[in-house]
């Protein structure tokens, strides 16, 4: 188990290196260079060359790459081409926003999906079961960005209500404003994940509830709650984990959409704008950062199977 974990960990720097190199070269080989964007409409060739030199863009790509690697190794992630601010500072300032969106989405889709999945399986073919399943099919089909649009449009149309505007308010500074800003959109964003989870929990639970050992547990007179939670629910944990990992992995895309729709300045919006103005250091760092989160999550997921399910053994 530990040897397996160590071996997987040893691969992570290699993966990071590969992703870093891939992004670096893709961004530089592709046409559309930041100097052109920076130079603006009335741009002379000399002025553009000056900017290219100032940004080191005139040097061969591999030299730029090694320069960048040296910087990264010493903890210098570069400065934004436009504002000149330190990328790490800028990201650190916006990260809490995207992080809160991710945590809330995960929390909502996890609680809703698991609760209704279990209830629906235990009360099979009851009105609640039908209701939940009906809602699941529709909930999965309505795109999250349409729901987010409705979330803005309907309250504004009916009650002239608008969510708190302006910058990000940290939860500990003003909990009420923070929650009003984040709870409705993250709740909407979590519907898709919750529905997938609910269907999964329901079908796994139904399968497990039919198994022999659950019948044995019931026969020996265990409390129904103990049978459901301790014996049956435990078996749904590995698939739940898979879905939740996937939810976190896709949360950044969701965060981009949410931040764009609600006009919140988080990492998602920062990245989206950076791509358009070709702010290479920002794009590079964000891609590397999100890709590494996905890689680490996959590792954690594989390892935690062994903790949840004693039958899983890694060599």
């Amino acid at each position: 188990m530990w040897r397996y974990a160590l071996r997987r960990l040893a691969f992570i720097p290699l993966i990071a290196l590969a992703i870093g190199a891939l992004t670096f070269f893709l961004l530089r080989i592709l046409p559309g260079d930041p100097a052109t964007v920076l130079c603006g409409q009335q741009c002379t060739a000399e002025r553009r060359e000056e900017i290219r030199q100032a940004l080191d863009l005139d040097r061969p790509v591999h030299e730029q790459y090694f320069e960048w690697m040296k910087d990264v190794a010493t903890g210098n992630l570069g400065t934004s081409i436009y504002g000149g601010q330190d990328v790490l500072d800028e990201v650190a300032r916006r990260l809490p926003v995207s992080f809160e969106i991710m945590i809330m989405t995960l929390l909502f889709s996890g609680t809703l999906g698991i609760t209704f999945g279990i209830l629906s399986a235990v009360m099979r073919n009851s009105p609640l079961d039908y209701g939940v399943r009906f809602f699941a099919v529709f909930g999965q089909s309505i795109p999250d960005f349409f729901l987010l649009t409705l979330l803005i449009v309907i309250p504004s149309m009916l009650w002239r209500y608008a969510p708190p505007a302006g910058g990000y308010v940290a939860f500990f500074d003003d909990p009420w404003t923070n929650l009003r800003m984040f709870v409705p959109p993250t709740l909407v964003l979590s519907i898709g994940g919750a529905m997938v989870l609910m269907r999964l929990v329901r079908s796994t639970m139904l399968e497990v509830l039919r198994s022999d050992y659950v019948r044995t547990a019931q026969a020996k007179g265990l409390h129904p709650r103990a049978v459901i939670l301790r014996h049956a629910f435990r078996n749904t944990l590995p698939p739940i984990l898979t879905v939740l990992t996937f939810t976190v992995a896709t949360a950044f895309s969701g965060s981009i959409i949410l931040e764009r729709v609600m006009g919140i300045q988080g990492l998602g919006n920062f990245f989206f704008q950076a791509v358009f103005i070709r702010d290479l250091p920002v794009v590079q760092f964000t891609v590397l950062y999100t890709a590494m989160i996905v890689v680490l999550l996959n590792l954690l997921q594989d390892l935690s199977y062994a903790f949840i399910d004693p039958r899983v053994r890694y060599r």
Binding site: I15, A18, I19, L22, L26, L27, L30, P31, G32, V137, F138, Q140, S141, I142, P143, F145, F146, T149, L150, I152, V153, S156, M157, T250, F252, S253, I256, I257, R260, F272, V275, R278, V287, T290, A291, V294, V295
Partner: protein
């Protein structure tokens, strides 16, 4: 007596191969009314996309200054937007765009993904490892980032959207088909064919591909729904079709939202509903196809 029975069976066989197949489909539809509804929604979508632009008297991009922000009326059943464009015409034109992009992306993506997956699973070894690692690297990249890079390379437009969606479909489809191919490859009839001296190509064409075909159909159905959704999402973010092009996603943002906020709900309600209903249709159809066609599930149900 015995001969009678045989003759009877032959007659049935000769007389009604086609109607029985149709009857089989009707039976499946009766047993799965929800799937049939999904199929119906998809058919309506395809007809709308194919014929829609000929059914409406207005041009989806034609500006009419005298009819700006009119609510739903007989002349404009879905109302008009801030530029005086007919919303119904734009919704129908959006259906065509979705149809074209979805069909092209799924065509390329599923055929490519199936081919790569089957080859990867059937031949194994170095080819398999190479394809698998490449796929994993591709999957670690957030799809949106991959797509934005693509825009930087070849510019915005319908082609870019198709290629972007097709790449995701190839990665996703090849993985599923690889694992299915591994299952089929291990089955006794493939071994028997090999023992009988069949060539690799013959085994691939007559045994492997027909047996993974149901999976390909299931994947194509859900991929098509996902492609329609992806096009709308990209256009919604303003990185899909060129500005002004009628697209369900593009009509759910920008000026339409500002107008909707002050009471013109129909501007976002109709494109959004069209999109949701089409995605619902593909989801319902895909779920049923999976139940009916997926041999693994079929075994466990009966």
């Amino acid at each position: 007596m015995a001969t009678n029975t045989i003759v009877l069976q032959e007659e049935q066989y000769v007389a009604a191969p086609e109607p029985s197949r149709l009857r089989g489909l009707i039976k499946i539809a009766r047993e799965n009314p929800i799937g049939a509804l999904g199929f119906l929604l998809v058919v309506v979508f395809i007809v709308m996309g194919a014929l829609g632009p000929y059914l409406t008297p207005y041009s989806p991009t034609g500006v009419d200054a005298s009819a700006q922000l009119d609510g739903p009326t007989l002349a404009h059943p879905f109302g008009t937007n801030g530029l005086g464009q007919d919303v119904l015409s734009r919704v129908l034109a959006g259906a065509r765009l979705s149809l074209v992009i979805g069909a092209a992306a799924v065509g390329i993506g599923v055929i490519g993904g199936a081919l790569i997956g089957v080859i990867s699973g059937y031949f194994g070894g170095v080819i398999d490892s190479f394809i698998q690692r490449t796929g994993e690297a591709g999957a670690a990249f957030p799809g949106l980032i991959l797509y934005l890079t693509l825009i930087a390379a070849i510019g915005r437009g319908v082609d870019t959207i198709i290629i972007g969606i097709a790449i995701s479909a190839i990665i996703g489809g090849s993985r599923v088909l690889r694992s299915m191919t591994l299952v089929v490859k291990a089955s006794p009839f493939v071994e028997a064919a090999r023992a009988a001296g069949a060539s690799e190509l013959r085994i691939l064409v007559t045994h492997i591909i027909p047996n993974v075909m149901p999976i390909i159909i299931v994947i194509a159905s859900s991929a098509w729904g996902a492609a329609v959704l992806a096009e709308a999402a990209l256009s919604f973010l303003g990185i899909g079709v060129e500005p002004g092009t009628p697209s369900w996603g593009a009509d759910l943002q920008g000026r339409n939202v500002d107008d909707a906020k002050v009471g013109h709900w129909y501007l976002v309600a109709f494109p959004g509903m069209a999109l949701s209903i089409v995605v619902l249709g593909f989801n319902l159809m895909g779920d049923t196809l999976r139940d009916v066609l997926d041999p693994r599930l079929r075994g466990s149900i009966r």
